[in-house]
Subunit: 148 residues, 2 copies
């Protein structure tokens, strides 16, 4: 059981954007898809999809044009990790009862118990924001700027 | 993010075995791979692997020979869900930092936070045993015996 790569990439992009800010409030510095791809060695195809999704969630704002790019659209302490992960993961159950459909489903307690565990996980993440990922902000900044 | 099918199948097999028992203590009724495959519409290849693993974990006992099969090796209230799921899932982190290796890793807080959430999930499951999955035992038994 692991977070989808898609979710992981979304979190990396938000972290990257957050390290650019000197305060909690977005400064409007623009980042390009290429910059993200180069930093994390990811394909533009993957990054494009996630960036589009983050835009739809109003977590980032995009400026079009020659010097365009994207930036955080909210304060870093207003972006909760549970929200980001829930949205990027989608609302699937943590146990797959339907593909193929499990014969035990009408009488099964397991899916209920696992679903409660899933909620606990998200409740725990709800106490953290993007700001909490920047404990080592200076070191992250150094890593990101020194990536060829 | 979802439990592996492998883990799911392991839980289904244990549930199936547990519904055969009239008390919490294993009665020694033997079940075959074919019976599990037919009930849950699973391939023998998948079921074989999981049954072998459950045997190595001493959760089931196998009797070889013509009328052989397998049965629970422990009381149903002694088989904790966190143990079963942890063992079948393997000890992988819930966020993949290494394939490919993430450049942020030396300064990243996300993996720590997600790992703590993972532990909470397992702590929650620790309060449940196989017995808790049998709340609708009679209904499960009917389902399992009426599967063609």
């Amino acid at each position: 059981m692991q977070l989808k790569k898609y979710t992981d990439y979304g979190l990396r992009i938000l972290m990257y954007l957050a390290t650019l800010e000197s305060t909690d409030k977005p400064s409007g510095k623009l980042v390009t898809i290429r910059e993200i791809c180069d930093t994390f060695s990811l394909s533009a195809n993957h990054v494009n999809k996630v960036v589009h999704h983050l835009g739809k969630l109003s977590l980032i704002e995009t400026r079009r044009g020659k010097n365009g790019g994207f930036m955080l659209a909210r304060n870093i302490d207003a972006i909760r990790l549970d929200y980001v992960i829930r949205q990027l993961e989608g609302d699937e159950a943590w146990i797959e009862c339907h593909k193929p459909s499990c014969v035990a489903l009408p009488a099964c307690e397991l899916n209920t118990i696992v679903a409660q565990g899933k909620e606990l996980f998200y409740q725990y993440l709800n106490q953290y924001t993007l700001k909490d990922l920047l404990k080592n902000k200076a070191q992250l900044r150094t890593i990101f700027t020194s990536t060829p």
